[in-house]
């Protein structure tokens, strides 16, 4: 399930809810992304989505990951709007039979979210605001999965 929310969320509660009641998934892997303060240079991150379209695109990619890594379940919570340093931006949670598939799918989905999901990120700071685009590292990370 893909959730976009403009409200701060509790990653621990989300992970507990995701993990509870699983009797056949031997592995749950998760990744939590947190807004950085950059030693005062960043006062907030602003995430823009096109809610319906963004959700549908991420869902399609998660379905692809589910087939590719034979996952039992995928849940992603992604913040939109203004995010303060220290707040959670994104939580990816994967359930699978075994750990390798769960770790890999988590990495795969994060590479997609960083550079290909319809989300736009603006960094606000004392020096003004700037749009953040994928770094070369983000793009080469995402390209690792092409085959």
């Amino acid at each position: 399930m893909i959730t976009l929310t403009d409200q701060a969320f509790d990653p621990g509660a989300a992970l507990t809810a995701f993990s509870t009641g699983r009797t056949e998934s031997g592995a749950v892997a998760s990744f939590l992304g947190i807004a950085r303060g950059e030693a005062g240079a960043a006062t907030a991150l602003e995430l823009e989505a096109w809610p319906e379209f963004t959700t549908r695109q991420i869902e399609a990619f998660a379905a692809d990951a589910t087939r590719r890594f034979q996952l039992h379940d995928v849940a992603i919570i992604h913040r939109t709007g203004k995010i303060a340093p220290g707040e959670a931006i994104v939580l990816v949670m994967i359930a699978a039979a075994h750990r390798r598939e769960a770790f890999e799918a988590c990495d795969f989905l994060m590479d997609y979210l960083k550079s290909r999901a319809p989300l736009w990120k603006k960094e606000h700071g004392p020096a003004g605001a700037r749009w953040v685009e994928p770094t070369t590292r983000d793009l080469t990370d995402a390209a690792r999965w092409e085959r």
Binding site: R56, V90, P118, V132, P134
Partner: protein
């Protein structure tokens, strides 16, 4: 009319998020020309690399025909997480 949506830095460049172009554009190329006439900075950005287009919420590549009432979204390089 053609409905146009902008995201990310494209919205900042144009100073709007959504507009309607009348009469409707018949193709994506024609729509881009008209936008460039009215908002030169936006036009230059749309001609640049990395801008993806969705026509009626489906990703489109190259020039495509537009039906009357089409919704065209211009999306600059994406970055979440």
């Amino acid at each position: 009319m053609t409905r146009v949506l902008l995201f990310g830095r494209l919205r900042d460049l144009a100073g709007w998020r959504e507009t309607e172009v009348t009469p409707a554009s018949k193709s994506l190329a024609e729509l881009k020309r008209r936008l460039a006439e009215a908002w030169p900075e936006l036009g230059a950005a749309l001609a640049g690399p990395g801008v993806q287009v969705a026509v009626d919420r489906a990703l489109a590549r190259g020039d495509v025909a537009l039906s009357p009432g089409a919704e065209v979204a211009f999306m600059p390089p994406m970055s979440g997480g």
